[in-house]
């Protein structure tokens, strides 16, 4: 079974703090993703990575950065947390697509971040 593990399930941080959200996958997947999920807005892609040290912006990268130093680990960084970054953050991973098939993307359990 694929396992995507987000180390922190619930965090409360103060405005202006630097926040690290860690994600580890155990299936040797090349692709990793960070989403945030908000009521009424659904899941939105923040950043993704196709390989170690590679990163690409998603739909809402402002206020975030990422780090992928090892294949199995993808970190989301909030340089200076703000209240509008209070949300549920979801990490995901997948293999690259084969031909015209979209490969399955597996999600972690989520990290609930509250910024006060």
């Amino acid at each position: 079974d694929v396992k995507v593990t987000q180390s922190s399930r619930y965090l409360v941080k103060r405005t202006g703090e630097k926040v690290f959200l860690e994600c580890v996958q155990d299936m040797d997947h090349e692709n990793m993703f960070w989403y945030r999920q908000d009521p009424g807005l659904g899941l939105r892609l923040i950043y993704f990575s196709y390989d170690v040290k590679m990163k690409e912006k998603g739909d809402i990268p402002e206020g975030y950065s990422v780090s992928r130093e090892k294949k199995e680990r993808f970190s989301l960084i909030l340089e200076s947390a703000s209240t509008n970054q209070t949300s549920m953050y979801l990490c995901a991973s997948s293999r690259p697509g084969q031909g015209h098939s979209g490969n399955t993307i597996y999600f972690g359990e989520g990290s609930w971040l509250t910024v006060v």
Binding site: V4, G42, L45, F48, L90, A92, P96, H100, G102
Partner: protein
């Protein structure tokens, strides 16, 4: 621009009352359409992948079908434990990123 629209937003069923959830999509070069189940406070759990029109997948009381414009998740004789939010998402030729619909919140009453 890719668009995925799910309907209804919320659906209340009595236990045993079969129904269908709809996912309409507009995407250039569909690579895959995915159905996920999400329980409150948890990440989406993968259910099915559909790749081309006419394909069907089944798992217990759930059956997913797809045409060139939409996909349906049919729920036969649902039970209260089927209550969850069901998410539809697509990937297209440009890559492996998912575009999600807004989800359908299903509530099954005993």
């Amino acid at each position: 621009e890719d668009q995925v629209t799910q309907s209804p937003e919320a659906l209340r069923l009595q236990e045993g009352e079969s129904s269908s959830l709809n996912c309409s999509y507009t995407v250039s070069g569909l690579r895959g359409l995915f159905w996920y189940r999400q329980d409150p406070g948890k990440g989406p759990e993968f259910l099915f992948t559909l790749y081309s029109a006419g394909e069907e997948k089944e798992k217990e009381r759930l059956k997913a079908t797809i045409t060139k414009k939409e996909s349906f998740l049919h729920i036969t004789a649902p039970k209260p434990e089927d209550s969850a939010t069901y998410l539809c998402a697509v990937t297209h030729n440009a890559g492996n990123m998912l575009t999600f619909g807004g989800g359908t919140r299903l509530m099954v009453k005993p």
